[in-house]
């Protein structure tokens, strides 16, 4: 087995609590974490990230640009149109889920998440 590459995760959430949790859980699981405080900032962070992230985790309900907006924007960027995007939100209603799916989300995870379920969800789309 050769040396493992560190996977980079971009998390987009307007809640600093959630960002703190994501960072902690992901860093303890060995991921490199970059973050954006809302959709607009998330896209900016994505565009300027070097190296680019291997997966995006985004909240749905955010000011300025929501999670659907993020997914649609990322899917339009040639460099990132195949980037896995996991939607992370407390919203559990099927309509939102369907919208996120239609927008091109790769997966869905419900807050509150456990550390394990979060890592498992990322693994599922990046491993």
């Amino acid at each position: 087995m050769t040396e493992k590459k560190i996977l980079r995760v971009l998390t987009i959430d307007d809640s600093r609590t959630m960002q703190g949790m994501l960072r902690k859980a992901l860093e303890e699981a060995g991921y490199d974490v970059i973050q954006g405080g809302d959709g607009i900032e998330g896209i900016e962070v994505l565009e300027s990230a070097d190296p680019p992230p291997n997966v995006i985790i985004t909240d749905i309900n955010m000011p300025r640009m929501d999670g659907f907006g993020v997914i649609e924007a990322v899917r339009k960027m040639p460099a990132f149109k195949h980037l896995p995007i996991i939607v992370l939100t407390t919203e559990s209603d099927p309509e939102k889920k369907a919208r996120a799916r239609a927008a091109g989300a790769t997966g869905w995870i419900i807050k509150p998440f456990s550390s394990d379920s979060l890592v498992a969800a990322i693994r599922r789309v990046t491993a």
């Binding site: 560190i6 996977l7 490199d32 149109k81 995870i109």
Partner: protein
């Protein structure tokens, strides 16, 4: 974990503020979609965070609240007065629950239940067809929303796999006898959404591993064209996977849950008829073709740690700020360029009664500004260092120049640091909404509090110290200022009372006013009460202002019957002291039948001020520049003597008292000279615009001084607000212009209407 919990509580405070702001806007009749969204988001966010920490009480209530707000958001009902009222009440409960979670007082469960019921009621009555449905969903937290406290045990290398249904909750089905056959063919769309056939296979392998089994995977390459004809984005392969019997159909289905539209798949129990007919299935390769056995996947766990922290947007400065008991230890804020305070009266010498929040949020650009300046400072310092080694005249000249540019740099840095510490008064002001709400419901009055100038920034230590005095003053306004609805209607006023709480910049200070449209101060009753309580003798002759100010006397209460609101031993005297400790004094103006206005002004900073160095009778003293209007030489013909021995001076037709500083401060025993001709005077103004002329011996310099409390080191002295240490090491007193002006116009009543308000001292 604790640090994140702290962030959570901090964020709760912000969200509650946001909620307050949004609900206030709604109650003002604004129903912008974004406002409703922001309100919803605030509660939503608190719920989300609380759930992560397993704060059940908070989650449960926030959930109900959120549901109700969702009804508003989706337009099921309108934000009527009553609806907003329920939301406001719920916000108070939510705020208390946050406090409870933080280790504060336990919230009365009856109150929670009441608010809970009201919220459920709103969404229930709001829509007829959804009424029953709403009522049931309101009370029940969905199964997938049981709080999951996050544990941060390091992820073990062979961590327990989770079924890849992103809903994480289903239990495995009882083992079935026959193996489960899963066949699937991904569409191009699967890859387009960033997913991969590989992920499905891993999902299935994990299911098998959960049951201590393995999967047998067969790849069908029959559709794969030669490389030349292959379109890279197109999906050609399909797979068949045999799962151990213990794996349930449901769990296998869950793997495809999210992607059911992007993938043909079938899940069949071997030997059984098509148990879960899904999409039209692809042709199944015979099991004999099984060629690969997937060993339990071992190194799909996360990569090794090497976190690179990224900078999040508003920078969090998490450093304990010094307690304000040592006001000289830290600089206070002053919006860049503006002058500092006039009377920083014994700069915040009172020790903090409760622990203050130890962190502040600062806009990134303010930190950047500071950083830039510090960079320049380093350069300037290097320049001075090299210049100081030169001995030639030109070098000396440059050195002087460098030092003076260093001076302006130092000042800029000071401003920048102050800006970092500056905070809008919004946080405190918005808390007052609740104070008024609760007070008016206790006194059965209908009162609206309007906030103005919430964005006005002031040193954070001041912001926090405002809470208690404002709370008392607003309670006082509700309890004693605003009349009962019946009395208001009888007086021809609207039944709803109004209080305006405002903040504004005024001559280098922040002026805060609380204005009610109540009955005004009943001076007759105030006087009688004061006599009854022995505060003043019955034959005292007092001006209207002096009567007004009686309410600040210790132990004074005018309410005919002591209500349970204001009559709790905390009187206006405490408020007066608190305001004084902030370097200000309260002014009152009251018009019978129209209302009362309380005002006080705060220095922008408690630490540094721009002063004018003057001397009087041999003493060097500092006068805050912000209160100096002009300086001039007296022309004797402008001076008029008054019968009581004092003088007024007419400056361009404006009469103001002349204050011989040395005499007033008892620095000299000799009577003032007969002729004031050619004396130097400073025209000074207090925060409400009353002016006086100070006679001094000499104006020496203009300088910036660090304020040292004189009260904490000695005691309060009339006419002196604080002390400072000058560049030559000598101690100098900072004059309290407000007190000097007030005492002068106390003697000479020249502008009654304007000056009444100044008699607060």
């Amino acid at each position: 974990m604790d640090d994140i919990l702290q962030i959570f509580f901090q964020e709760c405070d912000e969200q509650l503020q946001e909620l307050e702001r949004g609900l206030s806007a709604l109650s003002d009749g604004e129903s912008e979609h974004e406002t409703v969204n922001a309100v919803f988001r605030a509660v939503h966010s608190i719920k989300g965070g609380a759930a992560s920490f397993g704060l059940d009480n908070l989650v449960r209530f926030a959930h109900v609240f959120e549901n109700s707000l969702d009804g508003l958001r989706s337009g099921r009902f309108a934000p009527t007065h009553d609806v907003v009222k329920v939301f406001l009440k719920a916000m108070d409960v939510l705020s208390d629950l946050v406090n409870e979670a933080r280790g504060g007082a336990t919230v009365d469960s009856a109150r929670v239940a009441e608010s809970h019921a009201e919220l459920a009621d709103i969404s229930g009555t709001g829509s007829n067809q959804n009424a029953s449905q709403a009522a049931t969903t309101e009370d029940v937290i969905p199964a997938d929303f049981s709080p999951v406290p996050m544990d941060f045990e390091p992820v073990p290398a062979d961590f327990e796999p989770v079924p890849f249904d992103f809903d994480f909750g289903e239990e495995e089905a009882p083992p079935a006898a026959a193996s489960l056959l899963v066949t699937f063919r991904p569409h191009d769309a699967l890859y387009e959404r960033g997913d991969d056939a590989r992920n499905i296979l891993i999902g299935l392998a994990d299911l098998a591993r959960e049951c201590d089994g393995e999967i047998l995977t067969t790849c069908d390459r029959s559709a794969l064209p030669p490389l030349a004809d292959l379109l890279p984005d197109k999906s050609y392969l399909s797979w068949q996977v045999v799962l151990p019997p213990a794996v349930s159909e449901d769990n296998a289905n869950a793997v495809f849950d999210w992607i059911s539209e992007d993938c043909d798949f079938s899940i069949v129990r071997e030997g059984a008829e098509a148990a879960a007919p899904q999409e039209p299935t692809i042709e199944q390769p015979e099991p004999a073709e099984v060629v690969a056995v997937i060993p339990p996947v071992e190194d799909h766990e996360a990569p090794p740690p090497a976190p690179t922290p990224s900078v999040a947007h508003p920078v969090q400065i998490l450093s304990p700020l010094p307690a304000p008991a040592t006001p000289d230890a830290h600089p206070g804020p002053s919006p860049a360029g503006s002058a500092a305070s006039s009377t920083a009266n014994g700069a915040a010498q009172t020790a903090a009664r409760k622990p203050e929040q130890a962190s502040i949020r600062v806009d990134l650009h303010r930190i950047d500004d500071l950083m830039d300046l510090v960079g320049e400072l380093v350069i300037a310092q290097a320049a001075i260092e090299s210049l100081s080694r030169r001995t030639d005249a030109a070098g000396q000249h440059e050195l002087v120049q460098s030092i003076s540019s260093m001076q302006s740099l130092t000042r800029d840095i000071q401003d920048a640091v102050m800006a970092v510490r500056a905070q809008p008064v919004r946080a405190v002001f918005q808390r007052m909404q609740r104070v008024v709400r609760e007070a008016s419901s206790m006194t059965h009055k209908d009162i609206v509090l309007t906030l103005e100038g919430e964005d006005t920034e002031v040193d954070r230590t001041l912001v926090e110290k405002l809470t208690d005095p404002l709370t008392h003053m607003l309670r006082n306004a509700v309890d004693h200022g605003i009349e009962s609805p019946e009395a208001r209607i009888a007086a021809g006023k609207p039944a709803e009372g109004h209080i305006v709480l405002s903040a504004e910049h005024r001559s280098g200070r922040i002026l805060i006013t609380i204005k009610d449209d109540g009955a005004g101060i009943n001076r007759q009753r105030v006087f009688e009460t004061a006599v009854k309580r022995g505060v003043i003798p019955a034959d005292a002759v007092l001006s209207d202002d002096e009567v007004n100010n009686l309410i600040f006397m210790p132990g004074f209460s005018t309410a005919a019957q002591v209500s349970n609101l204001s009559g709790r031993g905390v009187g206006m005297d405490v408020v007066k002291q608190a305001i004084q400790s902030l370097g200000s004094r309260i002014t009152i103006s009251s018009i019978p039948g129209k209302g009362t206005t309380f005002g006080f002004s705060l220095p922008l900073t408690l630490a540094i001020l721009d002063g004018m160095l003057i001397s009087a009778s041999g003493s060097t003293m500092v006068i805050p520049i912000s209160s100096v209007i002009e300086t001039m030489i007296v022309n004797q013909s402008d001076v008029y003597a008054l019968p009581d021995g004092s003088n007024v001076i007419s400056i361009r037709g404006d009469c103001m008292p002349l204050i011989p500083l040395a005499t007033v401060l008892k620095l000299s025993n000799s009577p003032p000279p007969d002729s004031l001709d050619a004396s130097v005077i400073l025209v000074v103004e207090n925060e409400s615009g009353a002016r006086a002329a100070l006679i001094v011996d000499e104006i020496r310099d203009q300088t910036q001084v660090v304020i040292k409390s004189i009260e904490s080191n000695y005691r309060q002295i009339f006419g002196v607000s604080a002390a400072t240490i000058l560049g030559d090491g000598s101690v100098s007193l900072i004059l309290d212009v407000s007190a000097l002006v007030a005492s002068a116009i106390g003697h000479i009543d020249i502008k009654p209407s304007n000056i009444r308000a100044e008699l607060a001292a």
